[in-house]
């Protein structure tokens, strides 16, 4: 299931929780782990200088600096490296999302593990309350063929393995791929799978009648049965629930109540012009108490092994 894992890290404390999950997955599932850091080029064009992640200062780029960054990454993850994970550490120069996607393609990884954002991580976290996913994650999640696992809050990294999975259903095309990933993961790891849909009553203008809510919930249950549960035939540890409310709040609440250790969702429910993360997914991955996987494409999801 997880034979090759790409852990894309800025090397900052924002990625500590993602590191905990990435290294734990590598050991637990005997996967090959690529710890990958991109030294960002500060402009669109070619440059001889990069911005140091820790100091924020511009630094002359040369082989020595890259070697030093790799050494620093080894120091940063010294404790995790002692866990026995099969791991290589690499630092390259370029636009972060482009290099991460390139590396993922090159190694044909099964999953990419990332933090949600580096902005506001250090020192100024009160000024940046992190209500938005970072641009690198947005770009990677949009274009990646492999599912992208995001760990934002430290509390999301305390589970150690996946055995209770919540699939946030939205009935979109990408959601079909996400469900296949969730089902495949549940089957291979022997996990419980909860299919969950939240009927959105937030975007309605004015009061919505209880009958309409009930009707929409009945309709959602029927769609879940036809679209997802029939696919899961033969797998007994799967059940479905429909709640009403603000979708991202309900998904986070449901995962908390079920004590889920993984949430799987589609990248977005509607095709947007900029291909950004859906609002519900973005808020879930920022707020969840467990890792969240975004699935956008079928490539690494549909059974081919």
């Amino acid at each position: 299931m997880f034979k090759k894992i790409l852990f894309a890290t800025s090397g900052s404390p924002c990625c500590d929780a993602a590191a905990r999950v990435a290294f734990d997955m590598a050991v637990r599932y005997n996967a090959e782990l690529f710890v990958f850091h991109v030294l960002g080029v500060p402009s669109r064009g070619f440059s001889h200088v990069v911005v140091d992640v820790r100091t924020g200062e511009k630094v002359e780029l040369d082989a020595d600096y890259i070697a030093w960054v790799q050494e620093e990454l080894k120091n940063t993850y010294e404790r995790q490296l002692r866990s026995g994970a099969r791991c290589t550490i690499e630092a390259v120069v370029g636009l972060p999302h482009r290099e991460i996607l390139r590396k993922a393609r090159q190694e044909d990884v099964d999953i990419i593990v990332m933090g949600a954002s580096t902005t506001g991580c250090e020192g100024d976290s009160e000024a940046y309350p992190k209500h938005f996913a970072g641009s690198t994650l947005q770009q990677v999640a949009k274009a990646s063929k492999a599912p992208v696992l995001v760990v934002n809050r430290p509390a999301a990294s305390f589970w150690g393995g996946f055995s209770t999975i919540v699939f946030g259903a939205d009935f979109s095309r990408a959601s079909e791929y996400a469900f296949q990933f969730a089902l495949k993961t549940a089957r291979e790891l022997g996990a419980k799978l909860y299919v969950f849909h939240a009927v959105d009553i937030e975007s309605q203008h004015g009061l919505i009648s209880q009958q309409e809510i009930d009707d929409r919930m009945l309709e959602a249950r029927d769609r879940i049965r036809r679209k997802y549960l029939l696919q899961a035939k033969g797998y007994k540890d799967v059940s479905a629930d429909v709640w009403e409310g603000i979708p991202y709040v309900e998904i986070v609440k449901y995962a908390r109540e079920r004590q889920a250790d993984l949430i799987v969702m589609a990248h977005h429910s509607r095709v947007t012009s900029d291909g950004a993360l859906g609002r519900t997914l973005e808020q879930v991955l920022l707020r969840a108490s467990c890792p969240v996987v975004s699935v956008n494409r079928p490539d690494k999801v549909v059974d081919n092994d």
Binding site: A17, R153, P154, A155, F158, W159, G160, G161, S163, T164, R256, Q259, D261, S289
Partner: protein, 117 residues
């Protein structure tokens, strides 16, 4: 009869330290060094309270807590999280309290006393 506290932690120094604190204050103790073994200890020892580490080699604390709360017989046992991990107070929202190592022993004893007497 003395109230019994189960200490779940993979660090033997922490286990010894907690045993000393609790036994000096009239509590009985038992221990488990991993979440994976802890449910067996819960069944055999039937503790009144559990102190729980989060990061352990085989099974992490939240996973043990999930198993505990899914067993009706033991789901009422109060849990106190004691961990070195930042953000540990959010790991188990229904825990009685969360302490970050190094912690204040008097604060811990106060919470234990409030919880089980």
């Amino acid at each position: 009869m003395a109230k019994k506290i189960l200490i779940i932690d993979d660090d033997p120094n922490i286990v010894t330290y907690l045993e000393d604190i609790f036994q000096d204050n009239g509590y009985a103790t038992c221990k488990a060094t991993d979440g994976a073994d802890a449910m067996d200890v819960v069944r055999s020892e039937r503790p009144d309270l559990i102190t729980l580490d989060l990061e352990m080699p085989k099974e992490w604390g939240p996973r043990f807590y999930r198993a505990l709360t899914q067993d009706e017989e033991f789901s009422h046992i109060p849990v106190i999280v004691i961990s070195g991990l930042a953000g540990n107070k959010y790991a188990i929202p229904k825990a009685v309290a969360s302490f970050t190592k190094p912690f204040d022993r008097d604060e811990l004893l106060k919470v234990v006393k409030e919880t089980i007497g």
